[in-house]
Symmetry: C2
């Protein structure tokens, strides 16, 4: 009765499974979701095509696994933002990363949303993400109507950073977020929004 994580065979399998998911993400980033196929991913990962079939019975399963993993990653990033001293500033950084090192993840995340309309398993993932964003914003934006609007803006900003020719920088995104959250603050106020006054007044 060896535990799965101690079984050398299973550990090797898990490692390879992860390798395949990462390869899938790279393919999505480079050539888009339509380019994902067993053979392409296999070559990207440096494994024979049949290995892909072994870990993911169908291509669809591989896609779901990759997109779910991507969502996990984003949720972890969001949790990190919430724990930061200035959550909104950290979120702005996370958003801006979409134009650089994390391009693959944004592409995958939005392919996820698009696929969610047709795929029940991914519908749940999309809902999970939306719920997390709402929870993240709750302490900062008490009004639920405004909060939904800010959440929508976060989605839009992710998207814009991904496809725009000249994406905004972290400071710009931060200014936008504070403006939408603050409400009465008209222009990009230089007030560092680091005080936690709003967390106590309306909890």
């Amino acid at each position: 009765m060896t535990a799965p994580e101690q079984d050398g065979r299973r550990r090797k399998g898990e490692r390879r499974r992860k390798l395949l998911i990462e390869a899938t993400m790279r393919v999505i980033e480079r050539d888009g979701l339509p380019a994902v196929s067993q053979r392409v991913v296999a070559q990207e990962a440096g494994v024979p095509p049949s290995a892909v079939t072994y870990y993911f019975p169908a291509v669809d399963d591989m896609l779901v696994a990759a997109l779910t993993a991507c969502n996990d990653d984003y949720l972890a990033g969001l949790a990190e933002c919430a724990a930061a001293p200035d959550p909104l500033a950290r979120l702005a950084e996370l958003i801006v990363e979409s134009s650089g090192p994390r391009r693959a993840y944004v592409a995958a995340e939005y392919e996820l949303f698009l696929l969610a309309a047709r795929h029940p398993a991914l519908q749940a993932e999309a809902t999970r993400w939306v719920g997390a964003v709402d929870a993240f914003l709750a302490p900062l934006v008490p009004d639920p109507v405004r909060r939904t609007g800010v959440a929508a803006a976060v989605e839009g900003l992710f998207l814009r950073c991904f496809y725009a020719a000249d994406p905004p920088d972290a400071a710009g995104v931060h200014a936008i977020l504070t403006t939408l959250v603050g409400g009465q603050a008209s222009a990009a106020a230089e007030t560092s929004q680091s005080r936690s006054a709003d967390s106590g007044s309306s909890a």
Copy 2:
């Protein structure tokens, strides 16, 4: 020297070209962008596969044409919103339609954004849409920082209406938009935003 629009041959060709684009949109809505192929679109349109090749030398050309047509359609819708007595309310209706009769167009529009990162021709289309939204919001939101935020929220709301299991209704979207635009107005303010200073926005 007959004008192209009077030539019976060309008119028939244009009609068929339009038919193919509409078929492409239907395929995108039903099975997603990866499902688009010459043969599938041909069957959807009820024409032989070679007819697709005749009008669109490559599948990529067909995709670009369909997505551009979709963008044209959205830009026309936005122009109509700007001309309405209450632009924001009309925009809310346009957004909510994404969960119903115009599902195909939202799917296509976001596939456009995703493809834009890789395809120059679609990059220009995406920029055109973003510019139009900005122009639409300009009279309503003077502050450019806030305006960019509201524009991002509009994108996010479109997306949410598309994939959400229970999408918001027009009144809800309208409340969100007025809250974000109004700034200090916390809940859905009843202020009718019916000034007609935005007649200059063209295209």
